[in-house]
Symmetry: C2
Subunit: 205 residues, 2 copies
Protein backbone atom coordinates (compact mmCIF):
# COMPACT_ATOMS: atom_id res chain seq x y z
CA UNK A 1 0.00 0.00 0.00
CA UNK A 2 1.70 3.16 -1.21
CA UNK A 3 -0.43 6.06 -0.03
CA UNK A 4 -0.80 5.05 3.58
CA UNK A 5 -1.69 8.56 4.74
CA UNK A 6 -4.95 8.57 2.77
CA UNK A 7 -6.43 5.69 4.74
CA UNK A 8 -8.29 5.85 8.03
CA UNK A 9 -6.60 4.80 11.25
CA UNK A 10 -7.79 1.20 11.27
CA UNK A 11 -6.70 0.57 7.68
CA UNK A 12 -3.40 2.32 8.27
CA UNK A 13 -2.75 0.04 11.23
CA UNK A 14 -3.47 -3.05 9.15
CA UNK A 15 -1.08 -2.03 6.38
CA UNK A 16 1.63 -1.01 8.83
CA UNK A 17 1.22 -4.19 10.84
CA UNK A 18 1.40 -6.29 7.68
CA UNK A 19 4.77 -4.71 6.87
CA UNK A 20 6.22 -5.06 10.33
CA UNK A 21 5.01 -8.61 10.96
CA UNK A 22 6.23 -9.71 7.54
CA UNK A 23 9.62 -8.16 8.22
CA UNK A 24 10.17 -9.43 11.77
CA UNK A 25 7.70 -12.24 12.40
CA UNK A 26 5.21 -12.27 15.27
CA UNK A 27 7.81 -12.71 18.01
CA UNK A 28 10.20 -10.15 16.60
CA UNK A 29 7.60 -7.49 15.79
CA UNK A 30 7.13 -4.54 18.13
CA UNK A 31 3.84 -2.74 18.69
CA UNK A 32 5.75 0.53 18.91
CA UNK A 33 7.14 0.05 15.43
CA UNK A 34 3.70 -0.67 14.03
CA UNK A 35 2.32 2.45 15.69
CA UNK A 36 5.16 4.57 14.31
CA UNK A 37 4.71 3.24 10.80
CA UNK A 38 0.95 3.82 10.95
CA UNK A 39 1.56 7.35 12.17
CA UNK A 40 -0.44 6.83 15.35
CA UNK A 41 0.16 5.94 18.89
CA UNK A 42 0.51 2.62 20.70
CA UNK A 43 -2.66 2.99 22.75
CA UNK A 44 -4.69 3.22 19.58
CA UNK A 45 -3.51 -0.20 18.47
CA UNK A 46 -5.09 -1.67 21.56
CA UNK A 47 -8.18 0.45 21.14
CA UNK A 48 -8.79 -1.08 17.69
CA UNK A 49 -7.46 -4.61 18.14
CA UNK A 50 -7.24 -5.27 21.92
CA UNK A 51 -3.97 -7.22 21.80
CA UNK A 52 -0.94 -8.08 19.69
CA UNK A 53 -2.30 -11.59 19.17
CA UNK A 54 -5.62 -10.41 17.82
CA UNK A 55 -4.01 -7.79 15.61
CA UNK A 56 -1.69 -10.42 14.23
CA UNK A 57 -4.37 -12.93 13.44
CA UNK A 58 -6.54 -10.41 11.65
CA UNK A 59 -3.67 -9.02 9.60
CA UNK A 60 -2.26 -12.43 8.79
CA UNK A 61 -5.53 -13.72 7.39
CA UNK A 62 -6.10 -10.57 5.33
CA UNK A 63 -2.65 -10.65 3.76
CA UNK A 64 -2.62 -14.40 3.17
CA UNK A 65 -6.04 -14.36 1.54
CA UNK A 66 -5.03 -11.46 -0.69
CA UNK A 67 -1.96 -13.32 -1.96
CA UNK A 68 -3.44 -16.79 -2.25
CA UNK A 69 -6.48 -15.74 -4.22
CA UNK A 70 -4.13 -13.99 -6.60
CA UNK A 71 -2.66 -17.18 -7.94
CA UNK A 72 -5.48 -19.64 -7.35
CA UNK A 73 -7.25 -17.71 -10.10
CA UNK A 74 -4.63 -18.84 -12.62
CA UNK A 75 -6.01 -22.37 -12.40
CA UNK A 76 -9.54 -21.16 -13.00
CA UNK A 77 -8.88 -19.67 -16.45
CA UNK A 78 -9.60 -21.71 -19.59
CA UNK A 79 -6.85 -23.71 -21.27
CA UNK A 80 -4.96 -27.00 -21.37
CA UNK A 81 -3.10 -28.25 -18.31
CA UNK A 82 0.16 -27.14 -19.89
CA UNK A 83 -1.22 -23.64 -20.41
CA UNK A 84 -2.57 -23.50 -16.87
CA UNK A 85 0.78 -24.55 -15.45
CA UNK A 86 2.54 -21.84 -17.40
CA UNK A 87 -0.05 -19.24 -16.41
CA UNK A 88 0.16 -20.24 -12.75
CA UNK A 89 3.94 -20.09 -12.74
CA UNK A 90 3.96 -16.66 -14.36
CA UNK A 91 1.36 -15.31 -11.93
CA UNK A 92 3.09 -16.95 -9.00
CA UNK A 93 6.48 -15.50 -9.89
CA UNK A 94 4.99 -12.03 -10.33
CA UNK A 95 3.39 -12.13 -6.89
CA UNK A 96 6.45 -13.58 -5.20
CA UNK A 97 8.67 -11.01 -6.84
CA UNK A 98 6.55 -8.23 -5.33
CA UNK A 99 6.26 -9.97 -1.95
CA UNK A 100 9.66 -11.49 -1.39
CA UNK A 101 9.43 -11.77 2.34
CA UNK A 102 5.94 -13.23 2.35
CA UNK A 103 6.75 -16.93 1.78
CA UNK A 104 9.17 -17.42 4.67
CA UNK A 105 6.97 -15.31 6.91
CA UNK A 106 3.88 -17.28 5.98
CA UNK A 107 5.34 -20.75 6.44
CA UNK A 108 7.08 -19.82 9.65
CA UNK A 109 3.97 -18.38 11.27
CA UNK A 110 1.88 -21.37 10.23
CA UNK A 111 4.48 -23.63 11.83
CA UNK A 112 4.26 -21.63 15.02
CA UNK A 113 0.48 -21.78 15.00
CA UNK A 114 -1.05 -24.35 12.63
CA UNK A 115 -4.64 -23.45 13.48
CA UNK A 116 -4.15 -20.30 11.39
CA UNK A 117 -4.10 -22.59 8.38
CA UNK A 118 -7.45 -24.15 9.33
CA UNK A 119 -8.97 -20.67 9.31
CA UNK A 120 -7.35 -19.78 6.01
CA UNK A 121 -8.48 -22.99 4.31
CA UNK A 122 -12.03 -22.31 5.46
CA UNK A 123 -11.92 -18.79 4.01
CA UNK A 124 -10.42 -19.80 0.68
CA UNK A 125 -12.46 -22.92 -0.12
CA UNK A 126 -9.52 -24.72 -1.74
CA UNK A 127 -11.49 -27.90 -2.17
CA UNK A 128 -14.18 -26.28 -4.31
CA UNK A 129 -11.82 -24.27 -6.40
CA UNK A 130 -9.57 -27.17 -7.36
CA UNK A 131 -12.24 -29.74 -8.25
CA UNK A 132 -12.30 -28.86 -11.94
CA UNK A 133 -8.56 -28.91 -12.25
CA UNK A 134 -8.41 -32.43 -10.85
CA UNK A 135 -11.07 -33.62 -13.30
CA UNK A 136 -9.30 -31.99 -16.22
CA UNK A 137 -6.05 -33.66 -15.28
CA UNK A 138 -7.68 -37.08 -15.20
CA UNK A 139 -9.22 -36.41 -18.61
CA UNK A 140 -5.92 -35.41 -20.16
CA UNK A 141 -4.37 -38.55 -18.70
CA UNK A 142 -7.06 -40.67 -20.38
CA UNK A 143 -6.51 -38.78 -23.63
CA UNK A 144 -2.82 -39.71 -23.55
CA UNK A 145 -1.60 -36.13 -23.31
CA UNK A 146 0.13 -36.60 -19.98
CA UNK A 147 1.81 -39.67 -18.47
CA UNK A 148 -0.36 -42.32 -16.82
CA UNK A 149 1.67 -42.33 -13.62
CA UNK A 150 1.25 -38.62 -12.87
CA UNK A 151 -0.42 -38.01 -9.50
CA UNK A 152 -2.39 -34.79 -9.05
CA UNK A 153 -1.38 -34.14 -5.45
CA UNK A 154 2.30 -34.63 -6.11
CA UNK A 155 2.18 -32.62 -9.30
CA UNK A 156 0.61 -29.64 -7.52
CA UNK A 157 3.10 -29.78 -4.67
CA UNK A 158 5.96 -30.15 -7.15
CA UNK A 159 4.91 -27.03 -9.03
CA UNK A 160 4.58 -24.98 -5.87
CA UNK A 161 7.85 -26.34 -4.46
CA UNK A 162 9.82 -25.40 -7.54
CA UNK A 163 8.24 -21.99 -7.68
CA UNK A 164 8.30 -20.89 -4.06
CA UNK A 165 11.43 -22.49 -2.65
CA UNK A 166 13.89 -20.07 -4.29
CA UNK A 167 12.15 -17.28 -2.35
CA UNK A 168 12.03 -19.12 0.96
CA UNK A 169 15.68 -19.95 0.54
CA UNK A 170 16.57 -16.58 -0.95
CA UNK A 171 19.56 -15.61 1.24
CA UNK A 172 20.72 -19.21 1.40
CA UNK A 173 20.77 -19.67 -2.36
CA UNK A 174 22.14 -16.18 -2.91
CA UNK A 175 25.13 -16.94 -0.75
CA UNK A 176 25.82 -20.32 -2.34
CA UNK A 177 25.42 -18.86 -5.84
CA UNK A 178 27.86 -16.12 -5.09
CA UNK A 179 30.30 -18.71 -3.75
CA UNK A 180 30.13 -20.31 -7.20
CA UNK A 181 30.37 -16.96 -8.99
CA UNK A 182 26.76 -16.96 -10.18
CA UNK A 183 24.23 -14.15 -9.87
CA UNK A 184 21.05 -14.81 -7.91
CA UNK A 185 18.86 -12.25 -9.68
CA UNK A 186 19.80 -13.65 -13.07
CA UNK A 187 19.07 -17.10 -11.74
CA UNK A 188 15.55 -16.04 -10.70
CA UNK A 189 14.96 -14.53 -14.10
CA UNK A 190 16.02 -17.76 -15.84
CA UNK A 191 13.73 -19.78 -13.63
CA UNK A 192 10.63 -18.27 -15.18
CA UNK A 193 11.10 -20.50 -18.23
CA UNK A 194 13.24 -23.25 -16.69
CA UNK A 195 10.63 -24.38 -14.17
CA UNK A 196 7.79 -24.63 -16.69
CA UNK A 197 9.99 -26.68 -19.02
CA UNK A 198 11.14 -28.90 -16.19
CA UNK A 199 7.58 -29.68 -15.14
CA UNK A 200 6.23 -30.17 -18.63
CA UNK A 201 9.11 -32.42 -19.68
CA UNK A 202 8.41 -34.53 -16.68
CA UNK A 203 4.67 -35.08 -17.16
CA UNK A 204 4.05 -35.11 -20.91
CA UNK A 205 3.27 -38.56 -22.28
Amino acid sequence: MDNIEELNAEQRIIEAAADVFEESGFDGARMQQIADKAGINKALLHYYFRSKDLLFEKVFLIVAERIFSGFIKAFEEDGTIFQKIELFLTKHQELLYKNRRFPIFFFNEISRNPTLMKKLVAKLEFNNRFKNLILQLENEKEAGIIRQDVDVKHLMINIVSLSVFPYIGRPVIKEIMSDFGYNYEKFLEERKTVVANFVINSIKA
Copy 2:
Protein backbone atom coordinates in the same frame (compact mmCIF):
# COMPACT_ATOMS: atom_id res chain seq x y z
CA MET B 1 20.78 -36.38 21.69
CA ASP B 2 19.06 -38.97 23.90
CA ASN B 3 21.12 -39.29 27.03
CA ILE B 4 21.54 -35.65 27.86
CA GLU B 5 22.43 -36.30 31.52
CA GLU B 6 25.69 -38.04 30.60
CA LEU B 7 27.15 -34.91 29.00
CA ASN B 8 29.00 -32.10 30.72
CA ALA B 9 27.29 -28.78 31.31
CA GLU B 10 28.52 -27.05 28.18
CA GLN B 11 27.45 -29.89 25.89
CA ARG B 12 24.12 -30.22 27.69
CA ILE B 13 23.48 -26.52 27.09
CA ILE B 14 24.22 -26.89 23.39
CA GLU B 15 21.83 -29.80 22.96
CA ALA B 16 19.12 -28.14 25.02
CA ALA B 17 19.53 -24.85 23.17
CA ALA B 18 19.36 -26.63 19.82
CA ASP B 19 16.00 -28.09 20.80
CA VAL B 20 14.54 -24.89 22.14
CA PHE B 21 15.76 -22.64 19.33
CA GLU B 22 14.56 -25.12 16.73
CA GLU B 23 11.17 -25.27 18.39
CA SER B 24 10.61 -21.55 18.96
CA GLY B 25 13.10 -19.65 16.81
CA PHE B 26 15.56 -17.12 18.17
CA ASP B 27 12.95 -14.50 19.09
CA GLY B 28 10.56 -16.98 20.64
CA ALA B 29 13.16 -18.94 22.60
CA ARG B 30 13.61 -18.29 26.33
CA MET B 31 16.89 -18.63 28.18
CA GLN B 32 14.96 -19.99 31.16
CA GLN B 33 13.56 -22.83 29.06
CA ILE B 34 17.02 -23.71 27.77
CA ALA B 35 18.39 -23.74 31.31
CA ASP B 36 15.54 -25.98 32.52
CA LYS B 37 16.00 -28.43 29.67
CA ALA B 38 19.76 -28.56 30.27
CA GLY B 39 19.13 -29.17 33.97
CA ILE B 40 21.13 -26.14 35.01
CA ASN B 41 20.49 -22.56 35.91
CA LYS B 42 20.17 -19.40 33.85
CA ALA B 43 23.34 -17.79 35.19
CA LEU B 44 25.37 -20.69 33.89
CA LEU B 45 24.22 -20.05 30.35
CA HIS B 46 25.78 -16.63 30.55
CA TYR B 47 28.87 -18.00 32.21
CA TYR B 48 29.52 -20.30 29.24
CA PHE B 49 28.18 -18.24 26.33
CA ARG B 50 27.95 -14.60 27.58
CA SER B 51 24.69 -13.77 25.76
CA LYS B 52 21.68 -15.21 23.99
CA ASP B 53 23.07 -14.01 20.65
CA LEU B 54 26.40 -15.77 21.08
CA LEU B 55 24.77 -18.95 22.32
CA PHE B 56 22.47 -18.91 19.33
CA GLU B 57 25.17 -18.40 16.76
CA LYS B 58 27.32 -21.19 18.14
CA VAL B 59 24.45 -23.64 18.36
CA PHE B 60 23.05 -22.72 14.97
CA LEU B 61 26.33 -23.35 13.18
CA ILE B 62 26.90 -26.65 14.97
CA VAL B 63 23.45 -27.99 14.13
CA ALA B 64 23.44 -26.72 10.55
CA GLU B 65 26.86 -28.16 9.82
CA ARG B 66 25.84 -31.50 11.31
CA ILE B 67 22.79 -31.74 9.05
CA PHE B 68 24.29 -30.32 5.86
CA SER B 69 27.34 -32.55 5.87
CA GLY B 70 24.97 -35.49 6.25
CA PHE B 71 23.54 -35.11 2.80
CA ILE B 72 26.36 -33.42 0.93
CA LYS B 73 28.13 -36.75 1.32
CA ALA B 74 25.55 -38.42 -0.93
CA PHE B 75 26.95 -36.53 -3.92
CA GLU B 76 30.48 -37.63 -3.10
CA GLU B 77 29.84 -41.37 -3.47
CA ASP B 78 30.58 -43.15 -6.75
CA GLY B 79 27.86 -43.66 -9.34
CA THR B 80 25.97 -42.16 -12.29
CA ILE B 81 24.09 -38.89 -11.90
CA PHE B 82 20.82 -40.82 -11.70
CA GLN B 83 22.19 -42.95 -8.88
CA LYS B 84 23.53 -39.92 -7.06
CA ILE B 85 20.17 -38.17 -7.30
CA GLU B 86 18.41 -41.18 -5.86
CA LEU B 87 20.99 -41.54 -3.10
CA PHE B 88 20.77 -37.86 -2.21
CA LEU B 89 16.98 -37.94 -2.11
CA THR B 90 16.97 -41.01 0.12
CA LYS B 91 19.53 -39.52 2.49
CA HIS B 92 17.80 -36.14 2.47
CA GLN B 93 14.41 -37.65 3.28
CA GLU B 94 15.90 -39.68 6.13
CA LEU B 95 17.48 -36.64 7.69
CA LEU B 96 14.40 -34.46 7.23
CA TYR B 97 12.19 -37.13 8.68
CA LYS B 98 14.29 -37.15 11.84
CA ASN B 99 14.57 -33.33 11.94
CA ARG B 100 11.17 -32.11 10.86
CA ARG B 101 11.38 -28.72 12.40
CA PHE B 102 14.87 -28.00 11.14
CA PRO B 103 14.09 -26.72 7.62
CA ILE B 104 11.66 -23.95 8.54
CA PHE B 105 13.84 -22.99 11.49
CA PHE B 106 16.93 -22.87 9.33
CA PHE B 107 15.50 -20.80 6.49
CA ASN B 108 13.74 -18.43 8.84
CA GLU B 109 16.85 -17.71 10.89
CA ILE B 110 18.94 -17.17 7.78
CA SER B 111 16.35 -14.69 6.55
CA ARG B 112 16.57 -12.86 9.85
CA ASN B 113 20.33 -12.81 9.72
CA PRO B 114 21.89 -13.64 6.33
CA THR B 115 25.46 -13.32 7.55
CA LEU B 116 24.97 -16.66 9.29
CA MET B 117 24.94 -18.21 5.84
CA LYS B 118 28.29 -16.63 4.97
CA LYS B 119 29.79 -18.31 8.01
CA LEU B 120 28.18 -21.64 7.20
CA VAL B 121 29.34 -21.59 3.58
CA ALA B 122 32.87 -20.91 4.76
CA LYS B 123 32.76 -23.87 7.15
CA LEU B 124 31.27 -26.31 4.66
CA GLU B 125 33.30 -25.50 1.54
CA PHE B 126 30.41 -26.05 -0.84
CA ASN B 127 32.40 -24.91 -3.81
CA ASN B 128 35.08 -27.55 -3.40
CA ARG B 129 32.71 -30.37 -2.65
CA PHE B 130 30.49 -29.80 -5.69
CA LYS B 131 33.17 -29.33 -8.33
CA ASN B 132 33.26 -33.00 -9.34
CA LEU B 133 29.51 -33.24 -9.56
CA ILE B 134 29.37 -30.33 -11.97
CA LEU B 135 32.05 -31.90 -14.17
CA GLN B 136 30.30 -35.24 -14.16
CA LEU B 137 27.04 -33.62 -15.19
CA GLU B 138 28.68 -31.91 -18.14
CA ASN B 139 30.25 -35.23 -19.18
CA GLU B 140 26.94 -37.08 -19.07
CA LYS B 141 25.39 -34.30 -21.14
CA GLU B 142 28.13 -34.74 -23.77
CA ALA B 143 27.58 -38.50 -23.68
CA GLY B 144 23.89 -37.99 -24.49
CA ILE B 145 22.64 -39.51 -21.22
CA ILE B 146 20.90 -36.36 -20.08
CA ARG B 147 19.22 -33.58 -22.04
CA GLN B 148 21.38 -30.85 -23.57
CA ASP B 149 19.33 -28.03 -22.04
CA VAL B 150 19.76 -29.15 -18.42
CA ASP B 151 21.39 -26.48 -16.27
CA VAL B 152 23.34 -27.63 -13.21
CA LYS B 153 22.31 -24.78 -10.94
CA HIS B 154 18.63 -25.13 -11.68
CA LEU B 155 18.76 -28.90 -11.45
CA MET B 156 20.31 -28.77 -7.98
CA ILE B 157 17.81 -26.21 -6.75
CA ASN B 158 14.97 -28.22 -8.29
CA ILE B 159 16.01 -31.34 -6.44
CA VAL B 160 16.33 -29.57 -3.12
CA SER B 161 13.05 -27.68 -3.65
CA LEU B 162 11.08 -30.85 -4.31
CA SER B 163 12.66 -32.59 -1.38
CA VAL B 164 12.58 -29.96 1.33
CA PHE B 165 9.45 -27.96 0.59
CA PRO B 166 7.00 -30.56 1.93
CA TYR B 167 8.73 -30.20 5.30
CA ILE B 168 8.83 -26.42 5.28
CA GLY B 169 5.17 -26.40 4.34
CA ARG B 170 4.27 -29.32 6.57
CA PRO B 171 1.29 -27.87 8.48
CA VAL B 172 0.13 -26.00 5.38
CA ILE B 173 0.10 -29.08 3.17
CA LYS B 174 -1.27 -31.24 5.97
CA GLU B 175 -4.27 -28.99 6.34
CA ILE B 176 -4.95 -28.75 2.60
CA MET B 177 -4.53 -32.53 2.19
CA SER B 178 -6.99 -33.20 4.95
CA ASP B 179 -9.42 -30.77 3.31
CA PHE B 180 -9.23 -33.05 0.25
CA GLY B 181 -9.47 -36.23 2.32
CA TYR B 182 -5.86 -37.26 1.77
CA ASN B 183 -3.33 -38.32 4.38
CA TYR B 184 -0.15 -36.27 4.77
CA GLU B 185 2.04 -39.05 6.18
CA LYS B 186 1.11 -41.35 3.31
CA PHE B 187 1.84 -38.52 0.91
CA LEU B 188 5.36 -38.10 2.37
CA GLU B 189 5.96 -41.83 2.06
CA GLU B 190 4.91 -41.81 -1.62
CA ARG B 191 7.19 -38.90 -2.32
CA LYS B 192 10.30 -40.99 -1.72
CA THR B 193 9.86 -42.59 -5.14
CA VAL B 194 7.72 -39.92 -6.83
CA VAL B 195 10.32 -37.17 -6.61
CA ALA B 196 13.18 -39.24 -8.02
CA ASN B 197 10.99 -40.31 -10.95
CA PHE B 198 9.84 -36.75 -11.55
CA VAL B 199 13.40 -35.45 -11.71
CA ILE B 200 14.77 -38.27 -13.80
CA ASN B 201 11.89 -38.13 -16.31
CA SER B 202 12.59 -34.47 -16.70
CA ILE B 203 16.33 -34.63 -17.40
CA LYS B 204 16.98 -37.91 -19.21
CA ALA B 205 17.78 -37.47 -22.90
